[in-house]
Symmetry: C2
Subunit: 119 residues, 2 copies
DNA sequence: ATATAAAGTATCTTTAAAGATACTTATAGG
DNA sequence: CCTATAAGTATCTTTAAAGATACTTTATAT
C-alpha cells in the first residue's frame, strides 16, 4: 500500500476474519457484552441456526479471536469470550462503524433529495 | 457500539462496500494508481473475468466510490477513477491493511513455532 | 468488404455460504 | 426408568457469488 503495490495489499486478511454474515455481530457481542454461553449468543443473534453459529464460532476460535471454554458437566456448559488478541480488532471495527454510519446517512440524504426532486 | 447495542452496529455497511473478491483491490488500484481504463484494470487484476469486473465496477459506481466516464468514440473508451467520497475510505483501508499485515505475521510465527515443537 | 479494437452482454455452470430440520450425548431429577 | 437440558452433529436444500465462454457494437484503417 505504501509502495503503491496492491499485490501487497493485506486488507483481505482482515476482511477474511470479518466476512461471514454474523461474525462482526458475534465479535461485538463478546467484545462489549463479555463472556457468553452458546445459547446466549443464539438468543442474541436472532435467526441464526445452530450449525451456522457453530461454524462461525469455530472459525473465530481457530483465528484466536475468541476463546472457547468447555465445562465438563451435563448438560454441557460452554463459554465464549473475546481474547486479548481479538480486542486488537477494536480500533478497526470502530473506524468501520464510523464510516459505515456516515455512509448510511449519506445514502438517506441521497434518497431524501431524490424524493424532493420528484415532488 | 457506543451504547453497546450491537443491533446498532454499522460495521456491516462498510463491509458491504468492501465485500467482493476483487473490490478492495479495485479500490486500491484506483486510489493509488489514478484513473484507469477497463482493460487496464482487467490486466492489473489477473484472472478476473469481464463479467465479474463489470459487476464489481458497477456496484462501486452505484455507491459513488468510483466514477465511470464514457467517451463516445469507437472503439469505446471508458475511464474509471476514485471519487472524493471514495477517498474517505483510505483511513479505513489503511487500518485494515495494518491489522491484516500484523495478523499474517502472527500466523507465520505460529506456524514456525509449531514446526519447532515438532522437531 | 473485411478485420480490428475496447468495453462490454448474455448464458450457463461451478462453488461456497447459509439455512432447515432431525438426531445425539450424558446425567441429574422426578 | 423416563424426561429434560445445553451444546452441539449430520444431512440435505437453497441462495448468492464468481467463473467460463461466446456473442455484440460500430467507426475506422486496410
Amino acid at each position: 500500500m505504501e509502495k503503491k503495490d496492491p499485490d501487497l495489499c493485506k486488507v483481505e486478511n482482515t476482511l477474511h476474519i470479518l466476512i461471514g454474515k454474523w461474525k462482526p455481530l458475534i465479535i461485538m457481542h463478546l467484545m462489549f457484552g463479555g463472556t457468553k454461553r452458546f445459547s446466549d449468543l443464539q438468543r442474541a443473534l436472532a435467526g441464526i441456526t445452530t450449525k451456522t453459529l457453530t461454524t462461525q464460532l469455530r472459525e473465530l476460535e481457530e483465528q484466536e479471536i475468541i476463546l472457547r471454554v468447555v465445562y465438563p458437566v451435563v448438560p454441557p456448559r460452554v463459554e465464549y469470550s473475546i481474547t486479548e488478541y481479538g480486542m486488537t480488532l477494536q480500533p478497526v471495527l470502530h473506524l468501520m462503524h464510523e464510516w459505515g454510519n456516515a455512509h448510511l446517512e449519506r445514502q438517506l440524504n441521497k434518497e431524501q433529495s431524490t424524493f424532493n426532486n420528484n415532488q
